[in-house]
């Protein structure tokens, strides 16, 4: 039997279960079929009126009902669906007893406008609402359920309850790199020998008016509202921002030894993780590209491979002018002349930017790319950016095999995480 430890003597970490939910649908099958067909999940927002907004589109998950409709309840439901798929596929543990910890990437939580309006109705005196009145109304006992929904730990708590993960779950945010950080924490825990398995999840359901407006006020969002499916255009010269989206990705990570012992099917290997924070600016990356370059190199080093080994890049590729420029620069620096011949396709061209979930969702898609030998395209690529001379797999899926792939995630606050995945244990 092949070795169960990597070159550095650490337990090899493999993936034995994956689940995904995006605006394209629930489950790997539906998502993969649509993703490789170049289908977009971006549409006009129906969840709330968009009157007066510059951006009126998003990759919302419209086929799931929750009550009340708010980010934490949506995030919980998406995570639940993705985890159910991942744990079922893995066959690990028993129902309600997952033999490892939970790492959950989730958007920051606070009460939302429907709840605020509800409270204000009880807090109105002489036509004015004050927070003093709202605090008083809050303490009436009528809103006790909001305490549980709107605590930061509630989404993880619900998932931990249902799937019986071990110990205290970790809810985390590294902004748009969160999903990748959740995976990284799982890899590290298994390498430390603390656990044989970890449940790593990214989930996000925050397409609501205020969240959209906050991103809009930072000029981060595409305003190409018509037609919605053409709005997300990573690496194109006319790219004008990202498209907010929702979804969840879940991965069962396991030590190779444990997977072998169980006779579990190995879907891929989490070979290396890299990160490097950027101290340049709150929303912009360092103009010298050093943190992105360092992050990618750290991931390659951690995996014990060289740039030569990478045969597919799943970029952060948000479609903002800034990200795509800096990411391409980083890729060209790290991979040199080979950069132009490594396929690099952005899932976000179809599913939008699933924010806290993106790192996990795109790790699932990267592993599916290697497993199926088919690379989903970057759609809406009609006007190449002359400064980005890379193979973005324009508009049509392509067959290609890759033994190693890298997935990048970058976020506000100088967050950079890259994950190296392998088709099979080395």
């Amino acid at each position: 039997m092949a070795a169960t430890r990597d070159k550095a003597g650490r337990p090899i970490v493999v993936v034995t279960g994956m689940g995904v939910v995006t605006s394209l649908g629930a489950g790997k099958t539906e998502n993969w079929q649509k993703l490789t067909a170049g289908q977009s999940g971006i549409r006009s927002i129906k969840r709330f009126p968009t009157t007066g907004l510059k951006t009126t589109i998003a990759g919302t998950v419209d086929f799931i009902d929750v009550d009340p409709v708010c980010a934490p309840t949506l995030a919980t439901r998406f995570a639940d669906l993705a985890v159910d798929e991942a744990v079922s596929q893995s066959g690990i543990g028993s129902k309600g007893n997952f033999p490892g910890p939970l790492f959950l990437a989730v958007a920051p939580v606070e009460i939302e406008w429907p709840q605020r309006i509800d409270l204000a109705g009880a807090a109105m005196t002489k036509g004015q609402v004050s927070y003093e009145g709202i605090v008083k109304a809050a303490g009436s006992g009528k809103y006790a359920k909001y305490n549980d929904i709107f605590l930061f730990g509630s989404v993880a708590d619900a998932i931990a309850d249902k799937y019986g993960t071990q110990g205290s779950p970790i809810s985390l945010s590294t902004a748009c790199a969160s999903g990748a950080t959740a995976i990284q924490l799982g890899v590290e825990a298994i390498r430390r020998g603390e656990t044989d398995a970890a449940l790593c999840v990214g989930t996000d359901g925050s397409v609501n008016a205020e969240s959209l407006i906050r991103f809009s006020l930072l000029s981060a969002l595409s305003t190409s509202n018509n037609p919605p499916e053409s709005a997300s255009k990573p690496f194109s010269k006319n790219r004008d921002g990202f498209v907010m989206a929702e979804g969840a990705g879940a991965l069962v990570l396991e030590s190779l030894e444990s997977a072998n012992t169980r006779g579990a099917k190995i879907l891929g290997v989490l070979a290396g993780c890299g990160e490097m924070a950027d101290a340049f600016h709150r929303t912009r990356s360092s103009p010298d590209g050093k943190p992105i370059i360092g992050c990618i190199r750290n991931a390659l080093d951690d995996a014990g491979i060289t740039p030569q080994d990478i045969e597919y890049i799943n970029p952060h590729g948000t479609g903002t002018p800034e990200n795509d420029k800096m990411e391409s620069k980083g890729v060209m620096t790290v991979f040199g002349d080979r950069a132009k011949s490594i396929p690099m396709s952005s899932n976000k061209s179809m599913i939008g930017h699933t924010l806290s979930a993106a790192g996990a969702v795109e790790a699932v898609f990267t592993l599916l790319t290697m497993e199926t030998g088919r690379i989903p395209p970057t759609i809406n690529y009609n006007t190449p950016d002359p400064d980005i001379l890379l193979d973005v797999v324009p508009n049509k899926a392509r067959d290609a095999s890759a033994r190693y792939a890298i997935s990048n995630s970058f976020g506000f606050g100088g967050q950079n995480v890259s994950l190296v995945m392998a088709r099979e244990p080395a």
């Binding site: 907004l53 709202i134 809050a138 730990g153 993880a156 924490l185 990160e275 606050g413």
Partner: protein, 396 residues
């Protein structure tokens, strides 16, 4: 632990609370028993306001300060104090490979915008349009960045140059325990040499008072010690920032750093809150370290918040420890959610540095004087809603 060079040592302490700034001010106030509480602003509720602070001392650029809300300024300031305390200020080589874990909630809302919109709602026949328009026109674009949980870490990277890695854990009290736990585990396992860990909380926030009141969690009718808050109990939110530099003994010794204390056995659990589950899980965690405790020189620094029934259940556990001295810091510094565990570890390290414990502040009699030398402190976490944890802090 087999390899002593992998011991996790506390080499930097940054603390600012209602008691003031730095280990010495904190220690003096804990010994004098002075309570700094504001029971007027949010009456019938109370908060512990932040002590006097000159943010310029750790956040020199006004432009940086303007980009932050209070919780971020407090945290960035405390992180700077910790980095100073560890002798690392401006040490680019080490700060660029320092692993940061911040325990954070969300940031302040613009409550004026909220109330303006809510007051205007009844008079309009298109509330959705009003909401969209007012948010588009009245929200400050950069407020979002002051609200995002991970932007405390982002600001620390920018202001202090900590860039090895940056992770933000959320989830109330559990976030703080897990932040310390992961930092220590990574150091013990050789995955990290040096970490900056901490959090901050601004108690002067109307929308957080609202959140606490959903479950009627706030203490009413003026301040009382944590153990003396009656049947219903209650929280007194406290503004504070606390950061620790934790590093491997090998790394600390090599650079000649002063070691304030060592930390091990960081545990975090998530019992489903049912009757006595807090008592039981604390007993279980205690059992895992019981053989390391020397009862003649040990004390417990309790993370009790005053919330019931959790505080009552922790008290039952503490009473079963055979008279081990106990102190609840929340009596002095209040409830600070994600930052609570870190500030208690910091206070434990300060007490160990002095080799003794501060006096009791408890009419109920649980807290008893301690005259022996202090060499070990067990810090507990009992979240107001969830978030149980424990760690062992030892004298250097």
């Amino acid at each position: 632990m087999t390899d002593a060079t992998r011991d996790a040592c506390i080499t930097g302490i940054g603390i600012i609370t209602c008691l003031g700034e730095g280990p010495e001010a904190t220690w003096q106030k804990l010994n004098s028993g002075e309570i700094n509480v504001d029971d007027k602003t949010y009456a019938p509720f109370s908060i512990h306001p932040l002590g006097p602070v000159d943010f310029d001392k750790q956040i020199p650029k006004k432009g940086d300060q303007r980009q932050m809300e209070a919780w971020q300024r407090i945290g960035t300031y405390a992180a700077g104090l910790a980095i100073d305390s560890a002798g690392l200020k401006g040490n680019t080589e080490i700060l660029s490979r320092t692993d940061m874990i911040v325990a954070a909630g969300g940031g302040e809302r613009d409550t004026a915008v909220d109330t303006t919109i809510l007051s205007a709602m009844p008079a309009t026949n298109d509330p959705d349009k009003l909401l969209n328009e007012k948010l588009m026109s009245d929200l400050r674009p950069t407020l979002f960045l002051a609200q995002l949980s991970n932007l405390l870490a982002g600001n620390i990277s920018i202001v202090h140059g900590v860039t090895g890695s940056s992770r933000t854990f959320m989830g109330e009290e559990a976030a703080g325990v897990n932040a310390v736990r992961i930092a220590v585990s990574r150091i013990n396992a050789g995955q990290s040499e040096i970490a900056l860990v901490g959090g901050s909380y601004n108690a002067d926030r109307k929308e957080m008072m609202m959140l606490f009141e959903f479950a009627s969690s706030l203490l009413r009718g003026g301040h009382a010690g944590v153990w003396d808050r009656g049947e219903h109990g209650g929280l007194v939110p406290g503004s504070l920032g606390a950061f620790l530099v934790i590093e491997s003994r090998g790394h600390a010794e090599k650079r000649g750093a002063k070691i304030f204390a060592c930390i091990s056995d960081v545990m975090a659990e998530r019992p489903k809150r049912t009757a006595r589950s807090v008592t039981t899980v604390l007993q279980q965690m205690w059992q895992r370290i019981a053989n390391k405790i020397d009862k003649r020189s040990a004390a417990v620094l309790s993370g009790a918040t005053g919330a019931e029934p959790a505080t009552r259940e922790e008290r039952e556990f503490l009473k079963g420890l055979g008279g081990l001295p106990v102190r609840a810091t929340a009596t002095y510094i209040g409830q600070a959610l994600e930052a609570q565990f870190v500030v208690n570890v910091a206070i434990a390290a300060i007490a160990l540095g002095h080799g003794n414990l501060f006096p009791p502040h408890d009419k109920s009699g649980l807290e008893q004087p301690m005259s022996d030398q202090l060499k070990q402190v067990v810090v507990t976490s009992v979240g107001y809603w969830r978030g149980e944890g424990m760690a062992l802090i030892r004298a250097a």
